[in-house]
Symmetry: C2
Subunit: 726 residues, 2 copies
C-alpha cells in the first residue's frame, strides 16, 4: 500500500524532537553549576536518585519480564485456540504481544531515567542561575523540563511507529493497531510501578522530613541538619520527574493506540467507498501528535520575559504559542489527510472541517483545564484564600475547607469533560455517519497536541522545588532563595495543572479506549463466531457489580498508596530520631548527618510498599473479567475511569490548594480583622502546614497513581480481552 506522504512527518518530527532535546540537554549542561557547596549537594542528590532508580527499575524490570511471559502464553493459548484468520490471530500473536509489551516497558523506563537525569542536572543550574536572574532561572528550569517533555512524546511516537512498521502496519494498517496494544500495556505497567514507587518515595521523604525536622526538632525546611533532607530532594526527582515521565509516556502511547483502533472503523468505510488513502485515518493520530511536537519546539523559545514579570506569565505565553501553532497544524493535517472524495458532511461542509472543529474542542478543553486548575490551586482566587482564611480557626477547619474545595473541583471538571465529549461526538456525527466516536478521538488528539509543553511545565515544578532546596542547603548568594520560592509556587500550580490536563485527557481517552475494547472484542467474536458485544448494559447485574467494584478499586488503591506513604515515613522518622539521639553533634553542625542511610531506608520502604497497590490494580480487572465476563470488564473500566478521574481531581486539586494556602500565608497575604498580617510562626500558619502535609500524599502519590490506574485498566482490558470472553 502506498502510504500518504504526510505520514513520514511522524519519524521526522520524532527524530527532530529527540535532536532538539539533545540540544536543550547540552544547553543545560554547559550552564554554570554554582558554588562548590551547591555541586556537592547536587552530587549527593544525583547519587541517591540513581541508586533508587537502579533498584526500582531492577524490580520493575523483573515484574515486566514476568508479565511479558504470562501475557505471551495466555494470548498464544487462549486467542490462538480457534484460529480462523491467522494474519492477526494465532499463537504468533502471543509472541508479538509479549515483544510489544517489553518494548513499551523499555521505552517507558528510558523516558523516566533520562527525564530524571536531566532534571537533577537542571536543579543545581537553576539554583545557580537564581543567584543572578529570575528569567534565567525560569528558562533553565523550563529547558530542563522540556528535555523530558520532548523525549517522552517523541519516544512514544517513535516506539508506536516502529512496532507498527515491524508488525506490518504499512501493508495491513487495519490489523496492526490490534497487534500493538501490548506496547501500551507495557508502558502502563511500568508507569504504574514507577509512579507508585516514586510517589511513595517522594512523599514519605517529604512528610517524614517535615514531621521530624520542622515539627519535632523545630528546624527550618531543607535544613542540612535534618538527615532526611537529601532523601526529600531525591524524592522530587524520582517521583515527580521519573514517575510523571513514565505516566505521561504511557498516556501518550495508550491514547495513540486507542485512536488508531478507532481509525480502523473509518478505514474500512474509506476503503469500501474508494476514498484516496484510507490508511490516513489510522495514521492520523500520530501525525497530529507530530505537529504538536513541532509546535512545542517553536514555543520553547517564547518562554522569556523581564525580571519583574510574573513567572507564570512567561510559561503561559509559551503555552499560548503552542496552542495557536497547534490550531494551524490541526487545520493542515485534517484538510490534507481526511480526503473523502465526493462525500461531504452535514451542511454541505467538507468532512474534514467537522473533524477540525472536533480537534478544536480538544484544544479548547486543554486550555480550559489549564485555567480551571489555576483557579482552584493558585493563591489569586477564592478557593486558596478560603482555605487560608479557614486556617485562622485551626487545622480542623483548614482540612474541612480543603476537602470542600477538593470535592467542589469535580463539578467544573465533570461538566467541562461532559461538554467536550458531547460536542466532539456531535461534530463527528456531522462529519460522517457513525463518526461520533472518531470525533471524540480527534478531540483527544487535539487536546494532546500540547502534551510536550505541558510536560515541560510540569517538570519545571520539581526542578524549581529542588533548586530551592539546594539554595537553602548551600546558603546561596543574593536573593536566590526568594526567587526559587516564587518559582516553587509557580511550580505547584504547573504541577497541578498538568494533573488537571492529564486527568481530562485520561477521561476523553478512556471513552476512546473503551470503544476500542468493544471493537476488539467484536473482532475476536467475529473470528470465533461468538455473540457480538453491542451494549454494555448497566441493568445487567454483572455489569453493575463490576461498576461497583471499579469504583471501589480507586478508593482502595488510593488507601493503600496513602497508607504506604505513612508506613515509609514512619521508618524515616525513626531513623532521623535515632541520628539526632546518637549523633549529638548534628544540632550544632559539628557532625554531618548520615544522609545516605535515610536515602537507603526510604528506597527500600518505597519499593516494598509499591507492590501491594500495584498488584491490586493489575489483579482486580483480571479477576472481574474471569468471573463476570467481557461486558462486566467494560463496566468496570468505564465506571472505574469515571470514579478514578473524579477522585484524582479531588486529591490533586485539594492537595495543590492546601500547598498554596500555606504559601499564601507565608507570603504574608493573610490579613487579620484588624489589618495585621498573619504570617509564619502563627497558629494559622501551623494549621496550614497541617493541610499541606495532608495534601502531600494526596496530590503526589495517590492522585497521579490514579491516572496511571485508569489507563492501566484500559490497556489490560484491551490486551487480555480474549481471556474474558465467554
Amino acid at each position: 500500500m502506498e502510504l500518504h506522504p504526510i505520514v513520514w512527518i511522524i519519524p521526522v518530527a520524532g527524530l527532530a524532537a529527540v535532536a532538539f532535546a539533545l540540544y536543550l540537554a547540552w544547553d543545560v549542561l554547559r550552564a554554570d553549576t554554582g558554588s562548590a557547596a551547591m555541586q556537592e549537594i547536587a552530587g549527593t542528590i544525583l547519587e541517591g536518585a540513581v541508586a533508587f532508580i537502579r533498584r526500582q527499575y531492577r524490580t520493575i524490570g523483573l515484574l515486566a519480564l514476568g508479565g511479558a511471559v504470562v501475557i505471551g502464553l495466555v494470548i498464544a493459548l487462549v486467542e490462538g485456540r480457534d484460529v480462523a484468520d491467522t494474519s492477526i490471530f494465532g499463537p504468533e500473536l502471543g509472541f508479538r504481544t509479549a515483544v510489544a509489551f517489553l518494548v513499551g516497558a523499555a521505552c517507558s523506563m528510558a523516558s523516566g531515567i533520562i527525564g530524571m537525569y536531566i532534571s537533577v542536572k537542571s536543579n543545581v543550574r537553576t539554583a545557580a542561575a537564581a543567584q543572578r536572574s529570575l528569567v534565567k532561572a525560569v528558562q533553565m528550569a523550563m529547558r530542563g523540563g522540556a528535555v523530558s517533555g520532548f523525549l517522552v512524546v517523541a519516544l512514544s511516537l517513535l516506539g508506536v511507529w516502529a512496532i507498527f512498521a515491524l508488525y506490518g502496519g504499512f501493508t495491513h494498517p487495519e490489523q496492526a493497531p490490534f497487534l500493538i496494544v501490548g506496547f501500551g500495556f507495557g508502558a502502563s505497567f511500568v508507569a504504574l510501578f514507577a509512579q507508585l514507587g516514586g510517589g511513595i518515595y517522594t512523599k514519605a521523604a517529604d512528610v517524614g522530613s517535615d514531621l521530624v525536622g520542622k515539627i519535632e526538632a523545630g528546624i527550618p525546611e531543607d535544613d542540612p541538619r535534618n538527615a532526611a533532607v537529601v532523601a526529600d530532594l531525591v524524592g522530587d526527582n524520582v517521583g515527580d520527574c521519573a514517575g510523571r515521565g513514565a505516566d505521561l509516556f504511557e498516556s501518550t502511547a495508550a491514547e495513540n493506540i486507542g485512536a488508531m483502533i478507532l481509525g480502523v472503523a473509518i478505514f474500512r468505510v474509506a476503503d469500501a467507498a474508494g476514498w484516496p488513502h484510507p490508511e490516513a485515518w489510522i495514521f492520523f493520530p500520530l501525525v497530529v501528535r507530530a505537529f504538536g511536537l513541532l509546535a512545542t519546539i517553536v514555543a520553547i523559545f517564547f518562554v522569556r520575559g523581564s525580571e519583574d514579570e510574573e513567572p507564570m506569565n512567561m510559561l503561559n505565553r509559551g503555552y499560548w504559542v503552542t496552542t495557536l501553532l497547534s490550531v494551524g497544524g490541526l487545520a493542515l493535517v485534517t484538510s490534507t489527510m481526511m480526503n473523502t472524495g465526493s462525500q461531504v458532511g452535514a451542511g454541505g461542509l467538507p468532512v474534514w472541517t467537522w473533524f477540525f472543529f472536533a480537534g478544536l474542542v480538544g484544544l479548547a478543553t486543554s486550555v480550559a483545564f489549564v485555567y480551571i486548575t489555576q483557579y482552584y490551586t493558585s493563591g489569586s482566587w477564592r478557593p486558596v484564600k478560603e482555605i487560608a482564611t479557614a486556617s485562622k480557626t485551626g487545622p480542623a477547619t483548614n482540612i474541612i475547607s480543603g476537602v470542600a474545595v477538593g470535592f467542589e473541583t469535580t463539578a467544573v471538571t465533570a461538566i467541562t469533560i461532559g461538554i467536550a465529549l458531547y460536542l466532539s461526538h456531535w461534530l463527528g456525527e456531522q462529519a460522517l455517519p457513525h463518526g461520533g466516536i472518531f470525533g471524540t478521538a480527534v478531540a483527544t488528539m487535539g487536546m494532546l497536541m500540547t502534551t510536550a509543553f505541558i510536560l515541560a511545565m510540569d517538570t519545571f515544578g520539581p526542578i524549581t522545588d529542588n533548586a530551592g532546596g539546594i539554595a537553602e542547603f548551600s546558603h546561596a548568594e543574593g536573593n536566590a532563595r526568594q526567587i526559587t520560592d516564587r518559582l516553587d509556587a509557580v511550580g505547584n500550580t504547573t504541577k497541578a495543572l498538568t494533573k488537571g490536563y492529564a486527568i481530562a485527557s485520561a477521561s476523553l481517552a478512556a471513552f476512546l479506549l473503551f470503544s476500542a475494547y468493544i471493537d476488539k472484542v467484536n473482532l475476536i467474536q467475529t473470528n470465533r463466531g461468538g455473540e457480538l458485544l453491542t451494549s454494555i448494559n448497566l441493568a445487567d447485574v454483572n455489569v453493575f457489580i463490576a461498576a461497583l467494584i471499579g469504583s471501589m478499586l480507586v478508593y482502595f488503591f488510593s488507601s493503600l498508596a496513602i497508607r504506604a506513604v505513612g508506613t515509609a515515613a514512619a521508618a524515616i522518622i525513626l531513623e532521623v530520631r535515632r541520628q539526632f539521639r546518637e549523633m549529638p553533634g548534628i544540632m550544632d553542625y559539628t557532625q554531618r548527618p548520615d544522609y545516605a542511610r535515610v536515602v537507603d531506608i526510604t528506597t527500600r520502604a518505597a519499593l516494598r510498599q509499591m507492590i501491594l497497590p500495584g498488584a491490586v490494580a493489575v489483579g482486580t480487572p483480571i479477576i472481574v473479567g474471569l468471573l463476570l465476563g467481557q461486558a462486566a470488564v467494560a463496566g468496570l473500566l468505564m465506571v472505574g475511569t469515571i470514579a478514578g478521574v473524579l477522585l484524582a481531581t479531588v486529591l490533586n486539586n485539594g492537595g495543590g490548594a492546601w500547598d498554596n494556602a500555606k504559601k499564601f500565608i507565608e507570603a504574608g497575604h493573610l490579613i487579620d480583622d484588624d489589618g495585621t498580617v498573619i504570617g509564619k510562626k502563627t497558629t494559622a500558619h501551623a494549621a496550614a502546614v497541617v493541610g499541606d502535609t495532608v495534601g502531600d500524599p494526596f496530590k503526589d502519590t495517590a492522585g497521579p497513581s490514579l491516572h496511571v490506574l485508569v489507563k492501566l485498566l484500559a490497556t489490560i482490558s484491551l490486551v487480555l480481552a480474549p481471556l474474558f470472553i465467554r
Copy 2:
C-alpha cells in the same frame, strides 16, 4: 379480587407497632426526670429543638407544597397528553401523584417530629437513670430510640397501604404501584431537606462550640459557660433524631414501592399461569416488613443484662433476636405467599425456597454490615487503633490515617454488596425464569426486616450523647458521666452501623428502583407506542456523560453540605466570642450566657444553607433528563448511586473512626513506647480532636445526606420519567 388473607397482617402489624410505640413512650415518660437542674436544661433543649423543627418544617412544607403543584401539573400535562389506558394514565394521574407526594411528605415530617420529641424526653431520663444504673440507662435510651424506630417503619407501612387501598390497589394491584411512586418522592423530598438542615445544624453547633469553647477558651466540652452548648445539644436531636428518622422513613417507603413494582412483573406471570393469589407477589414486600416489625417488638425485651456487661453486647443480643425471629417470619411468608401451583424451581425445589434463600442473603448482608462497621469504627480493632497511634505524630498523620481508613472501608463494603447482589440474583433465577431481579428484591426486603431495631439502636446514639451533655451540664451525681460516656462510645458505633446498614440497603434498593424505573419507562412507551428501553448502554455517549455527572454530583453535593457547616459554624463562633467579650461574668459563672440567641442564629444559618445543596440534588437529575433523555437518567441514577454509596461509606466510617480514635485516647488505651499512657491534654489527644472535628461534618452532615440523595435520584426518576422520554 379476593386478597390473600395474610396481607391483612400489614395494617395489623402497623397498628400493633404504633400501639407498642405508644406504650414505650408512656414507659419512658413516666420515668424519673432527675434533678431540677437536669429538668431545666432539658426544657431548654426541647424549646430550641421545637423552635428549629417548627421553622424548618414550615420551610420544607412550603417547598413540598410547591413541589406537589409542579409535579401534579407536569405529570397531568406530559403523561396525560397521549392517553391510551386511562386507568393508570391521564390527567388524573397528576392529581393522584401530587396527593401521594403530599401524604408521603406529611408522614415523613410526622416521623421526624415524633421521633425527635420522644428522644428529647428520653435524654434527661437516661441521664437520670445513669445516676443509678448502667442497665437502666441502656434500656431507657433504647426504648426512647425504639419509639422512633417503630413509628417510622409503621407509618411507612400504613402510609403505603392506605395510598395503595385508596388508589384501587385491592382491585388492580398491578397498576397501583405506579400510582404510589409519588409517596416515595414526597418522603425523599422532605427527608433530603430534613437531613440536610438538621445535619448542618447539629455539626455547625458541634464544631462551632468545640472550636470556640474547647480550643479558644480552653473550657471543657459541654461546659455551661459556652453559649453554644445548648445549640450543640439541640443539634443532636434535630439532626441525628429528626433527620435520621425522615431519612429512614423515606428509605423504607422507596424500597417498599420499588419492590412492589418489581412484583408486578411476577404478578403478570402468575396471573397468566393461573397460580392462586397472583396479587400476593405485589403485597409480599409489605408483608415481610410487617413480620420484621413484629420480630422487633419481641426483641426489645431482650435488651437487658448485668451492670458489668459491655453495653454493646446488650444491644447485639436484641439484634440477634430480631434476626432469628425474622428468619422464621421470612420462611412463613415466602412459603405461604409464593404459591406457584405445580411449577417448581431449579433442582425440583419449590419456588418459594429459592426466594427464601434470597431473603436469607439479605438478612446475612444486614448482619455482615453490622459487624463490618463495628470493625472499622470501634476501638477494639486495628483501624481505630491505627488512627490513634498516628495521632502521636500530630494532626496531619491523624488525618492521613483516617482518610486511608475511610477509603479502605469501601473495599469490604463493595465486595459484600456485590456478593449479595450476585447471589440473590442467581437464587432468583433458580426460582423462576427471569426471576433474578425479584430475587434481589426479596434480599432487600430480608435485609430491611430488621430496620426498626436498627433505627432504635441508631437513635440510642444521640440520646446517650445528649444524656452525657445533660449530666455534665447539670453536675449529675455518682458516676453518671462515666456511664453516659461509655454509652456515648457505644452510640458512636451504633450510629455508624446504622449508616453502614442504610448504605448497604440503599445500594440493593437502588438496583431495584433502577429496574422499576426501566419497567415504568417501558409501560409508558408501550402506552405511547414508543421505543422500549431494553438496555442502559454505557458506550452511549449520553449515558456516559450522565454517569460522569452523577458521580460528580455526589462530590459537589457533599462539598456544599460540608461548606455549609463551616459557614454556619463561623456565625456561631462570632456570636460566642461576642458574648465572652461583652458579658465578662460568664467565665466566673456570675452571668448566664444567652443560649437562645445562639440557637436562633444556628437555626437561621442552617436553614439558609440547606437550600443550595437541596436545589442541586433535585435539579441535576431533572436537567440531565431533559437534556439527555431517559436512558441517560438511568445512567446518572445507577452510577450516581454507586458513587454516592461509596463516598458515604468513606465519610461515615472515616468520621466514626476519627471520633472513636479520640475516645480511645481519652479512655487511656493509647500507650507510649515506654509504657506510659498517652491520655487527655497530650499533643496526641489534641491531634485526635482535630480528626474528630474534621469527621463531624463528614459523618453527620454529608454522609447521611448522601443516603437521601441516592434515594431521591431514584424516586425523582421514577416520578418524572414521563418528562424525560423523548
